[in-house]
């Protein structure tokens, strides 16, 4: 689906402020995959995803989407239809007078007819949990921050790009709202979309990603299934990331000589693993 080959990106090349943001990154994202991009601030995540829809062009190397090179101007012009990119804090890009028009903006740019737009906008609003009848006519500026975030998200869902790329979609949201967004994204994957998410929330990454790619100072530091990547807590901490709590727990119990499996990602798995050691609580002597 998306193929990145030896991508290097330098901001303001040839000036005193030149900054190498990505260096020789190669990456392949398959159709229907759920990929999480992780890394400390300044590791190049945002720069990388802005290459996926042609907003940025490689200084060296190339990016292919569906086999087509993003450096080709004609390819780039229509790339947004295939790769829907939602920026960080997308509530700051809202501008229409009502929620309906805001969500319809992408569809209108696609040139769809009003009937189709109506259906798609309704569907998208339902998907993000905003009742179309109630919210459609409100001004986006009158909503809470969490609701604005969902309106922006619906704006991307409505024009149905095959690839969804989201830059920190859950930053600043409370646990319940965060959970809702991840569930929705997993649903999109089940409907055949490819999903790429940038996040700092490693526990969420562990639960939802098929593959985790960790960037560090513009290079790929680790990649693999969550189990492979999170199996190395020390390595992740060294590049400024957290390790999901359940994995960390098992890792430390193991260090203390307990025979537990360390490839644990979620609380449910941790619970099951511990219960394997003592199948019934009743067998435990009371302390």
């Amino acid at each position: 689906m998306i193929l990145v080959e030896h991508l290097t990106h330098i901001y303001a090349p040839g000036t005193p402020l030149a900054l190498t943001s990505l260096e020789d990154v190669s990456l392949r994202i398959e159709e229907g995959e759920f990929v999480v991009l992780a890394g400390a601030t300044g590791s190049g995540k945002t720069t990388l995803v802005q290459h996926f829809n042609g907003l940025l062009l490689p200084t060296a190397g190339r990016v292919l989407v569906d086999g087509r090179d993003t450096r080709d101007k004609r390819v780039r012009r229509d790339l947004w239809r295939t790769v829907g990119l939602l920026f960080q804090n997308p509530e700051q890009q809202l501008f229409e007078e009502n929620v309906f028009a805001e969500v319809a903006f992408g569809c209108r740019n696609l040139g769809l007819d009003e009937g189709t737009i109506e259906i798609r906008v309704r569907r998208a609003l339902e998907m993000v949990g905003l009742e179309p009848v109630r919210f459609g006519t409100l001004s986006p500026f009158a909503l809470s921050r969490g609701q604005q975030r969902r309106v922006a998200l619906a704006g991307v869902l409505a024009y149905r790009p095959r690839v969804l790329v989201l830059d920190e979609p859950t930053s600043g949201l409370d646990p319940a709202a965060r959970e809702q967004i991840w569930q929705m994204l997993k649903g999109m994957q089940q409907h055949g979309h490819t999903v790429v998410v940038i996040t700092h929330h490693m526990e969420d990454a562990a639960r939802y990603a098929d593959r985790v790619v960790v960037l560090h100072r513009g290079k790929i530091y680790r990649q693999g299934t969550p189990r492979q990547v999170f199996g190395d807590p020390e390595g992740l901490r060294a590049v400024g990331l957290d390790v999901p709590m359940p994995g960390e727990l098992m890792y430390r119990l193991r260090q203390r000589g307990l025979p537990v499996n360390t490839g644990i990602l979620t609380l449910d798995e941790a619970e099951a693993e511990l219960k394997k050691l003592a199948p019934s609580g009743k067998a435990c002597p009371v302390m």
């Binding site: 000036t15 947004w80 829907g84 939602l86 920026f87 700051q92 809202l94 501008f95 991307v156 024009y159």
Partner: protein, 267 residues
Amino acid sequence: MMLSGITLGQYIPGRSFVHRLDPRTKILASAVMIMAVLVCNKPAGYVFLTLGTLLALGFAGTSPRLLVGILRPFWVILTLTLVLQLFFTPGQVLLALGPLHVTREGLVLGGQILWRLILLIVFSSLLTLTTSPLMLTAALESLLKPLQRAGVPAFDLAMMMTIALRFVPTLLEEAQQIIKAQQSRGAVFTRGGLLQRVRGLVPLLVPLFAGAFRRAEELATAMEIRCYRVGANRTRMHQLRYDWRDYAVLAGTGTLFLATLALRWWG
């Protein structure tokens, strides 16, 4: 819309001779030099001023590369000025390109104006490059102090300027982010007729203003929290003090100005 290289008015910290001058000296010297450039009309004057500029650049530790960066945003204006003067000044024809004639007078005038513009740009940039916005404000405040007594709110004007300088880069960056975000959902800023283009700006301008107001509100809160009061007397951690360097620079620029003036009248 891409901003490459040096943003206009950006401060680059350093420890050069010019960086360490009293900011008031730098403001006064820049003003004097700009006046000198404006009154200059003799080749000898340009030689003096150019030497003075080179000296200032040298003492500021400005690399030739940075100099190119400063001038780059102006290249369209500079070229246009030169071309217009070259072709549209009547006089002795040096070169004929079809209906267009390059004249001797055009070459002289164009070169003069071009050189003046470059000197002006270099001088005003040198001031902002080597002086932090806060020092600049402190200096303005100090220079305007006599006016405060006459009822001009010099302190508040100075603070307004600091904040404007501090947020120009932030807002430019934000504008770029919004453009990219809207392009990501299919917005087109560069196609269609005039009306379509103007309408195309709405998705940029509405969020940009909304964002600016939000920032302004938060900044106002942040300043209030730290006890900023309109019209109150503030002190300064960095006290401004003139020393021999400042007197030397002021004397130097003053002499240069008088010399150019003298050349204009009697040269």
